[in-house]
């Protein structure tokens, strides 16, 4: 997999990488046993500080997603136990339609996020 960094984001570069790996794990782009690109591969692709890549991989290791093997590389050791990628794609499609209609009704990003957050919280409260 490859990484992209957005300089306009307020998210530190290492967290952008963490999010992209997590996203790839969730959508099935990365699977059990897959190797993450080496630090040098990432550098030659996006000219990034090596400490930033190392920090991102450390964070992913602490979260239990990957394990670094000295001199060999960093490998995926756990996958999110969830529905298959196709389910994510279908749900993302529904959500995109909802976002489009919400935008037509005049809702901005923050308002949409607040609605989604609220719906999740309501569901969680109902379950508890």
């Amino acid at each position: 997999m490859g990484f992209r960094l957005n300089p306009a984001s307020g998210l530190p570069a290492y967290l952008q990488i963490v999010r992209q790996v997590e996203h790839a794990l969730r959508t099935g782009l990365l699977r059990m046993g897959d190797q993450l690109p080496t630090v040098k591969q990432v550098i030659s692709e996006i000219a990034i500080n090596p400490n930033t890549v190392a920090k991102a991989y450390r964070e992913l290791e602490m979260a239990g997603w990957v394990r670094g093997r000295q001199g060999v590389g960093t490998f995926v050791v756990r996958c999110p136990c969830g529905p298959p990628p196709a389910t994510y794609a279908r749900l993302a499609h529904t959500l995109e339609a909802w976002v489009a209609s919400a935008r037509r009704e005049g809702l901005d990003d923050a308002a949409m996020e607040a609605l989604l957050r609220g719906a999740i919280d309501d569901q969680n409260a109902g379950v508890a």
Binding site: S9, L11, Y14, K40, I43, S44, I46, A47, T52
Partner: protein, 305 residues
């Protein structure tokens, strides 16, 4: 001399209240920074903020008018012993245009105690830079790669680069920065590179030095800088302070106030909506603060006349 500060754990760079005056004008004033070893620092600030002056002080090409400069615990000087550990690439990367990269490497071997021509040749061969052609006939990107390879050949502990990517196109810029990042993988090399456009270099860096208003506004790890600044949006409250935050820049409209703040603790007041800021937005806020401080008296004079 090896004091405690020059041991393996001291900072690569430490300056305290450093100023440099040319005639009656201060090029740099009150500059206090501390950069740990192994960092790649972005040195940014508006034109005339003293970026080049600071780099020249660090390599011993200029002496401070006030304050103290230490590089690995030593005062910079143009001596063989000091310069063996510090590489400096001035703006426009001066080289002998008629000599080839190969000839430059041969000259360097005579002038330096440590000289890794082998690695420099391999580095340039990997990038498909012709070693036998006069550097004056190479592209700007290739020339910058030769200059970097020459600067790295003496295996410096600290590399200072003055606007190294300003003249490069986006592709050459990315290739140059990738070469630089690759050279820092081992963690033994500290780098300071200046740029007036932070988004050109920010991802290759993990530390930020911001000069503005004649002094150091920020000297910290970039992740710490990002975590420590927020945009607050809320009802208009001109001139109002925010508990736990220092206001860097404020824009007041009649419906809302927008404040760029440095946080000392989370803002709990629910009237403020909090947003993350990009590094460039944070830097711009510090530069705007400087400008408004200068503009204000001028406006006063105009009103009075």
């Amino acid at each position: 001399m090896s004091g405690p500060a020059s041991g393996a754990s001291g900072p690569a760079i430490r300056t305290a209240g450093v100023g440099k005056r040319f005639g009656s004008a201060w090029a740099l004033r009150g500059c206090t920074v501390s950069v740990p070893r192994g960092r790649v620092s972005a040195l940014v600030g508006p034109n005339g903020a003293g970026k080049t002056t600071l780099l020249r002080l660090l390599v011993g090409l200029a002496r401070p008018t006030a304050g103290e400069v230490r590089v690995f615990g030593e005062a910079p000087a143009q001596t063989g012993a000091f310069l063996a550990g510090v590489g400096y690439l001035a703006q426009e990367a001066p080289m002998y245009r008629r000599l080839s990269a190969f000839e430059h490497l041969a000259v360097g071997a005579h002038l330096n105690r440590v000289w890794d021509a082998q690695e420099a040749r391999e580095r340039l061969a990997d990038l498909e830079v012709p070693l036998d052609r006069p550097v004056g006939t190479l592209s700007g990107g290739q020339r910058s790669q030769v200059a970097l390879a020459l600067a790295l050949a003496k295996r410096p502990r600290l590399l200072l680069l003055d606007e190294p990517v300003a003249a490069l196109d986006p592709l050459a810029r990315r290739e140059f920065l990738a070469s630089l990042a690759m050279a820092t993988v081992s963690g033994d090399l500290s780098v300071v590179l200046s740029s007036h456009l932070v988004h050109h270099i920010e991802h290759v860096c993990d530390h930020l030095i911001l000069l503005a208003d004649g002094q150091t506004q920020i000297s910290d790890d970039i992740d710490t800088v990002l975590a420590g600044h927020r945009l607050l949006v809320g009802p208009p409250r001109p001139g109002a302070g925010v508990p736990g935050a220092t206001v860097i820049d404020a824009t007041d409209h009649h419906r809302q106030s927008r404040l760029v703040v440095r946080l000392t603790r989370p803002v709990l007041d629910p009237a403020w909506h909090t947003e993350e800021l990009s590094l460039e937005e944070i830097i711009l806020a510090y530069m705007r603060r400087r400008r408004s401080a200068i503009d204000r008296p001028a406006t006063g004079i105009r009103t009075a006349s």
